[in-house]
């Protein structure tokens, strides 16, 4: 139990700019039973509970905006079992994603979800946020790997859902409901994940372009050519420069865009696909498209891409990042729209992201202390959301709604969608003690009307 002033402040934030609120108490339970006791007490006293992994959330999902208890999992961070017959791994929620990943790979198995914060983030946090990562294009996201969960319901009951099963249609799919529920429906205390065999080979290609559109076209062309690479990552000029400032690995600062393309599988397939992707990049105007010289070089490039957001924050005091996602076919349009919006509102936006997934992270570089600029930033971000939705996309692909995007959720879901979700929340957590103030906003933002010509 921690409740010193320093502790309350240290658990008042996550990685989201401009959100902070002090909890009343910070607790580190040691097992499911202790979690259940805490939840029962909080339910009785109507005290909010905010489960928190490592606090790398990017939508203020782990900020205790209504005070209450921050629940930590640093005492519940063990890997419990590797089941070689069913190809599953069972861990406590506090296990670090990368530790799990390394552990299974030592055993010749593979857990693909790899959010950029995987060195820091916890599996529990990943499940609660349904995190994506660099390998999403081919291997999907966290939800595609969750087989079973132990949860403590908002009234303190312990419940096991799912199992080490290949198939299971017994009733509603509660696993899918819990994964990505951002701590609003209960506390996850044990997780069983699906594993797959570790691919034997992988190779990485890098392509640089003189325009964003060429890079975006390359992405569409690769998919259209029936290649599904593991990774198809995009960085624009601003991002390339920021990463280069941090890593000093010799990225060309003059390039307008770069693509990082990785394929895994059998030696033959990998070689074939990577050569094809390099050729497609060249056809679409790449100034340079080459194979990474070694696995080390490929790792360095991926590390650079993972650091993109934080590296961008070198440029201005505040970085506000979005997570707009559109169908793959619309990626070029989205990239173009972001550029135009930045110009229109005179704000600095750098974009990187999982281009192959249609999931971009336009990042506004600004300063929260400048009120006038912040107003323009807000308008720009509103418009980005609206354009994404108009293109058949969503407001968040992998970061979650949290508190930050809650005012926009109705834009995506509509009034009836919101009502259905509210009913689900209400029936599972009638006292609203589980991470209150997240997903559901008090007020929806006024919807933007974009006039023709934009």
């Amino acid at each position: 139990m921690k409740h010193s002033q320093a502790h309350l402040l240290a658990y008042s934030y996550d990685a989201t700019a401009n959100f902070q609120a002090m909890p009343d108490l910070v607790l580190s339970p040691r097992n499911t039973e202790e979690v259940a006791e805490i939840v029962k007490f909080c339910a009785k006293e109507q005290i909010p509970i905010v489960p928190r992994g490592s606090g790398t959330n990017l939508a203020a999902g782990t900020v205790p905006s209504r005070g209450g208890v921050v629940l930590l999992f640093n005492n519940m961070s063990e890997i419990l079992e590797l089941d070689q017959e069913n190809l599953t791994i069972t861990t406590q929620p506090g296990a670090i994603t990368q530790d799990v990943s390394i552990y299974v790979e030592k055993n010749g198995l593979f857990y693909p979800p790899d959010p950029s914060s995987m060195k820091i983030s916890t599996i529990g946090g990943n499940v609660s946020e349904n995190s994506g990562g660099l390998r999403g294009l081919k291997y999907g996201v966290t939800k595609d790997y969750v087989k079973a969960l132990t949860i403590v319901t908002p009234d303190g009951e312990v419940m096991k859902i799912g199992g080490k099963l290949a198939k299971d249609v017994a009733g509603y799919d509660l696993l899918s409901l819990l994964v990505g529920s951002e701590g609003t429906l209960g506390v996850i205390t044990e997780i069983t994940l699906k594993l797959i065999p570790l691919p034997v080979a992988k190779k990485t290609g890098i392509a640089y372009f003189n325009s964003l559109e060429e890079a975006a076209k390359t992405v569409s062309a690769i998919i259209a050519n029936r290649i599904i690479p593991v990774t198809l990552e995009f960085m624009d000029k601003g991002t390339i420069g920021a990463v280069e400032d941090f890593m000093e690995i010799g990225l060309p600062r003059e390039a307008e865009a770069m693509l990082l393309m990785e394929q895994d599988g059998s030696e033959k397939q990998v070689e074939e696909d990577i050569q094809k992707m390099i050729a497609i990049a060249k056809e679409n105007g790449a100034t340079s498209a080459i194979l990474a010289a070694s696995e080390e070089e490929s790792d360095v490039l991926k590390t650079g891409r993972r650091a993109a957001l934080s590296a961008l924050s070198r440029k201005r005091p505040t970085t506000i990042l979005e997570d707009a996602t559109v169908p793959r076919s619309e990626i070029a349009k989205m990239v173009k729209a972001i550029q135009e919006i930045a110009l229109k509102y005179d704000v600095q936006i750098s974009t990187f992201g999982h281009a192959g997934d249609g999931n971009l992270h336009p990042t506004c570089l600004t300063d929260v202390r400048d009120k006038e600029e912040m107003e323009r930033v807000e308008k720009a971000l509103d418009e980005i959301f609206q354009v994404a939705i108009d293109l058949g996309g969503t407001i968040t692909g992998e970061h979650g709604v949290g508190e930050m995007k809650s005012p926009y959720l109705e834009w995506k879901l509509g009034a009836s969608g919101m009502a259905l979700m509210r009913n689900i929340k209400q029936s599972i957590d009638p006292k609203n003690i589980m991470n209150p103030g997240k997903i559901f906003a008090k007020e929806t933002k006024k919807r933007l009307v974009i006039h023709g010509g934009n």
Binding site: A6, H7, L9, S12, D14, Q20, S310, S313, R314, P317
Partner: protein, 440 residues
């Protein structure tokens, strides 16, 4: 909440001393967390992480927290190893923020009379004046030579000295008699000004002698400017930055000559501060240019030995590998000066040894200047973790690049009862011995 007058003054001191722009650089991504030794040994306690400390610095400034024991503990527990800096994609200048915080705290925090006396004798006395340091050390040498060391250890002879020196008691290096110098291999073409360092030049005099000898052997002309002082790092890290800068100016003056190709040091902790003179003195018009010249020519001993071609000399001596040598990074040499390949390359080429990497060699050993004296419990936890890796590797020599690390590793060896199996050594001593023992 009632805010006391002291707490108000403390907030004011944070506003005046801790730079808001530097604080805003942190976007709280958490990339620093896995790099922070105190975060890891406290089972991931956010107040003992760089991100948490920066949030607390900002909280103090903005008035979100008031000064109390819990805030103080968070700052005090920081090793200052700066492993968070290379891990930080946003380029947060944590070292600067920590120094500023310590200045902010020192200016307001009431001190006991005893603490004041120690601080004065340490920062204004011994560390400010090389002669006083030498005087104190002569006593230590007498004490060692006379054979009284073992007998008097129990009654704490070194109580006479500032507390940090007392702690060194168990692991003080022994004094060697002078050996005949080797003749230089080639005509001297490079002129090197040697920064002797207050600890290195007193308690570790032997290492300094060998440093000079090695450099001369490799054809360097070594000069030791007389007016040099303690680098000032300990002052800076303890919230006495102004006193540290007094030393910095003296050193910049002492080494300001066009005839020096390099200014070399052999203590990682000093080297980092020396290379940051430029940053600290950039707004001092009389010293901005001079300190830039100083910091640009600063080099650590391993990098210089590599430049002067020691690797080839080592390779010429062909001896079978008989034991394992490993390396514990000096945090500041690694994290501030970004030097970690050079010492390893020298050890890889050292005759008679096989180099093996120590697990987490880049993370702090817990010495951290005088941290092991101020925060013995945390330092012990960190050292225990380090020694776990050492036990697995079973090296005959653990080589370091800094006197603090050297003593801390030796403390670790003694604590584990491994004195008969292994030894902690300064890289210069190790290389010197490897050459002398294997070459006629």
């Amino acid at each position: 909440m009632v805010v006391t007058e002291l707490q108000q003054r403390m907030q004011q001191s944070f506003i005046e001393n801790v730079d808001e722009e530097y604080l805003m650089d942190c976007m709280r991504c958490g990339f620093c967390l896995p790099a922070c030794p105190t975060y890891l040994v406290t089972n991931k306690d956010e107040i003992h992480s760089p991100r948490g400390r920066i949030a607390l610095m900002k909280g103090m400034r903005d008035g979100d927290v008031v000064w109390d024991g819990s805030v103080e503990e968070s700052f005090d527990m920081c090793l200052g190893c700066r492993a968070c800096e290379p891990a930080c994609p946003a380029g947060v200048q944590y070292g600067v923020l920590l120094e500023e915080t310590r200045v902010a705290v020192e200016q307001v925090k009431p001190k006991t009379i005893a603490e004041k006396a120690i601080r004065t004798s340490t920062f204004d006395g011994v560390f400010a004046d090389q002669k006083k340091m030498a005087g104190a050390v002569k006593l230590v040498q007498f004490y060692q030579k006379s054979g009284l060391q073992k007998a008097t250890r129990k009654i704490g002879f070194l109580n006479l000295f500032p507390p940090f020196m007392k702690e060194m008691e168990g692991v003080l290096p022994t004094i060697e008699t002078k050996k005949k110098r080797k003749v230089a291999l080639k005509p001297k073409t490079t002129t090197v000004a040697f920064f002797a360092g207050c600890l290195m030049d007193t308690l570790f005099q032997e290492t300094n002698r060998k440093t000079i000898e090695l450099l001369e052997w490799l054809g360097a002309n070594v000069v030791i400017p007389k007016e040099q002082q303690c680098c000032g790092a300990l002052h800076g890290h303890s919230g006495e930055l102004e006193k540290g800068l007094r030393n910095a100016r003296a050193n910049v003056d002492a080494f300001d000559s066009d005839s020096y190709d390099y200014i070399v040091n052999n203590a990682g902790g000093c080297g980092a501060f020396l290379s940051e003179y430029e940053k600290h003195l950039q707004s001092d018009s009389a010293y901005a240019e001079k300190s830039k010249r100083f910091s640009e020519r600063m080099i650590d001993i391993s990098s210089l030995l590599v430049k002067l071609g020691l690797n080839n000399r080592l390779k010429e001596i062909q001896v079978e590998s008989q034991a394992i040598v490993t390396y514990q990074d000096s945090c500041h040499l690694r994290n501030v000066n970004k030097v970690f390949l050079e010492p390893r390359s020298l050890l890889q080429d050292a005759p008679g040894f096989e180099y093996k990497e120590l697990i987490d060699a880049g993370s702090c050993c817990g010495s951290a200047g005088i941290y092991n004296i101020l925060q013995p419990e945390m330092a012990k936890k960190i050292l225990d973790l380090k020694m776990k890796g050492v036990r697995e590797l079973q090296p005959a020599k653990i080589v370091t690049s800094n006197p603090g690390c050297l003593m801390q590793m030796q403390v670790g060896i003694q604590r584990e009862g491994l004195e008969d199996e292994m030894q902690a050594m300064h890289i210069v001593d190790f290389l010197y011995d490897a050459i002398h023992k294997n070459q006629n």
